[in-house]
Subunit: 477 residues, 2 copies
């Protein structure tokens, strides 16, 4: 069979075969050399036109972005930069691309400009590479869990519960705006809304995933989650994909082992399966950093960083130890932290996490056993009565990659905690049922997928690692 | 290493090994025999208690649903129904389950009752099996596309576009109910909402997926989609997961090949990887159907049906041929159809699809080349000027499993069609751009994942193949 795409042809390398290809023109030079890309790989294939026997009219239409079909022979290349090329015998223009109008020209475009053209930006080398890596990374996630006996669970996106407590929620409704029916006492009559109650977009599938872990043993979610928070940063999205494994009979130590093994494994998978794209992204980042002052450049290249994380143990440090380190750190003593650390119990800010990860340990760090009062209601209380079995995995350049915990499995303790934190027991009756019927130690974590893609691809802004980012004041496309 | 779950232990079968297990009691009989399940397989492992040396207090607490830990030796079983069993040396009750309160008793519960206990129903054989098969089927989807060079694309869930035209949408907002700000002319001021515009939950990722296909070549989505339609049927959900591949340079024939190959392949995967669960579901369905009159029973068992579909070609029939068949069919002539078929151009109803699939062809059927005016604006017009390159894949017992089309790639034709159908060109500027810059033939389809799970598991109601179903008046859990 004829090879059907550029990736396969470049891989096979068998010269003198007849081939037929369809793709898009990246560049066309000297009226002879087409760099053709079909999305199957970051690499273009050079197609050499017999320009003397090609009508002038056709040559004019070979422009950046045009879709073409070529037939010809694969031959060893005489030129530099590629080992094989296509000696074209037939060319057909499938779809033109007017060079005066086409926004994606063979030059450097700013990421801001490309975000406004998110429907076309994936036609560039950088975004093509990022999105292929994202795809492979997704598959690595599924493969890891499936290979390890986990069941994929699709927890609901529209939820009637607002007790998840992970952040501000978007409302979902079928009411017309400002025309929701009201009851006699003037309240909104949600019984008349589509779902018969007030509904929101989920912020986490954890609570529902727990119900499945307590039956199937090991489960994971991988789906969209939402935060209606006005965070205009390079690491927040209003809509993002989250991975949430949950395992029965597993304690926090097992949870830390799982998170570390999982991250190393998926990075190993893309290192093995995205070599060309990662090599390109590695170069891109090095080039970008070369413009920065020496002090702001990374010690390691992208590839070195990925290999380092895949091959080295994460540092595990209790919150209490971390506070000691921070309290005695230079920036704290020199009052360089915006939020100085003076006593146990403080919530750690991004600046503290970055210090620990980037300056002190210089590797991914797992912090565990946080103060109970800065963490969620469902986390298991330690015997000390003041810390909970929570963990955060912190990554250089990214900050929090994973947040997880051993869950409070004791009915009485959980109810007391919910009361103290003003969480409605009636609404979470089903969550409490898990502690009433066959309860057991169990744990899990959430990993923001886009942060993992950011780390893997070296992209600085989270809006550039998801096809159509949703952020405050932006839901284009 | 000690084997850690029931599936592995039953598979290894090595007797005389020391094992430790945690799981939930399914049944306990004769104060001796525990059927233990840990979710890793539908099969329980029999754990035999030395009841004379076990405290009365402990024996009492071994009840259905209780979580326990056992240690002991794996031995050949003397009893019937299992080849190995655990001779228990140590037992610990991890979490009790009060038999007077626990809803899931070892007896037959109605599916309606279990839906009200969706947080616990996965602890039953049927739902455990269904959800394990669902998980494997999901993985088969990803594996198929990744093995065939497709890139996974996460299209947006919150969308600013309401032009997708696939159905009624839910609104997403941060406004307080009935307190949305209004402009001077009395309209809702969406510029003050979170996204700065009116936003909805997506009904399809197709349009966005097309933008990626026209750069990466082959892509697929697999994510939640939404319909705000008041359909209380056994095959509709307000929130469901959809699979949407989209391929550049592929025409409708290629699209039909892809849909057929895809479905056969994922069924083949679960037939190979879910043997125990499918055997159970096969038996369950046969038992259920045995209560029906002979005429209402299936010709084939569940497993036979799955193998039949995996091994036989789908029948491909044009809409025009189908209308001929229907017009001349017995039920049409005897006026048994609620909607009689008298002329070309009629939209096919469920009764017609069922006749074609279940009575006439007795196999999955692909209908193609539908009348343009009953299909969406983006489908490619045929040379006859009245049909479009649309296709539906119809399945016995399910109806429409797949809907797809070759997309209109000609800018002028598409614009004209949008005008005729009153679709705002300005809103879909980016979709039109695909036809302006490097356009080419391309095609794709959408497959409702839950219908595939229904077919694969033989479950009659779509609410029973998704963990927490969302339907009109229901968003529990």
């Amino acid at each position: 069979m004829m090879k059907s795409n550029v990736a396969e042809i470049l891989k096979s390398g068998t010269v003198l075969q007849e081939i037929a290809l369809k793709g898009w023109v990246r560049t066309f030079r000297s009226n002879r050399f087409i760099a053709l890309n079909d999305g199957s790989t970051i690499n273009n294939i050079q197609c050499v036109i017999d320009f003397e026997n090609t009508p002038e009219e056709t040559l004019k239409r070979i422009t950046t972005g045009a879709a073409i079909a070529v037939k010809g022979t694969l031959a060893e290349s005489q030129g530099k930069g590629q080992s094989v090329e296509v000696q074209v015998s037939e060319i057909e223009i499938l779809g033109d691309s007017n060079p005066d109008e086409y926004p994606i020209q063979p030059k450097k475009h700013s990421f801001e400009f490309l975000r406004e053209n998110a429907h076309l930006r994936v036609r560039t080398n950088t975004f093509g590479a990022v999105m292929r890596v994202r795809s492979k990374l997704s598959f690595a996630v599924h493969k890891y869990f499936q290979d390890n006996g986990f069941n994929y669970v699709n927890t609901p996106i529209v939820t009637g519960s607002d007790a998840e407590g992970a952040g501000e929620m978007f409302r979902v409704t079928s009411f017309e705006d400002n025309k929701a029916p009201v009851t006699e006492d003037g309240k909104i009559d949600y019984s008349k809304d589509f779902f018969g109650k007030e509904t929101n977009l989920t912020v986490s599938g954890q609570l529902e995933a727990e119900t499945y872990a307590m039956a199937l043993g090991k489960v994971y979610t991988f789906g969209p989650t939402f935060r209606a928070e006005n965070s205009n940063t390079t690491r927040h999205l209003a809509e993002f994909w989250m991975i949430e494994p949950e395992v029965a009979f597993m304690d926090l130590d097992g949870n830390m082992d799982l998170a570390e093994d999982f991250i190393k494994s998926v990075l190993g998978y893309v290192l093995e399966n995205c070599k060309d794209d990662l090599a390109f992204l590695d170069q891109r980042l090095t080039q970008e950093e070369s413009k920065l002052p020496q002090a702001q450049r990374s010690d390691m290249s992208l590839l070195e960083k990925l290999k380092f994380v895949a091959d080295n143990n994460f540092k595990r440090v209790s919150y209490t130890e971390a506070i000691d380190i921070l309290r005695n750190s230079k920036p704290n003593k020199k009052k360089k932290f915006q939020f100085p650390i003076d006593k146990w119990g403080a919530d750690l800010q991004s600046e503290h996490e970055r210090f620990l990860v980037e300056k002190h340990f210089k590797c991914p760090v797992i912090l565990f056993d946080y103060p109970a009062n800065i963490k969620a209601f469902y986390m298991r209380l330690n015997e000390d009565g003041k810390t909970v079995r929570a963990m955060d995995v912190l990554f250089p350049g990214i900050g929090e990659m994973v947040g997880g915990a051993q869950r409070e499995e004791r009915y009485d303790v959980l109810v007391e905690k919910m009361k103290a934190m003003n969480i409605d027991e009636k609404e979470l009756w089903w969550y409490l049922d898990l502690r009433k019927f066959g309860t057991a130690v169990h744990s899990g974590f959430g990993l923001g997928f886009e942060r993992l893609v950011q780390f893997t691809t070296g992209m600085g802004n989270i809006r550039d690692v998801i096809p159509f980012p949703r952020t405050p004041q932006n839901a284009e496309f």
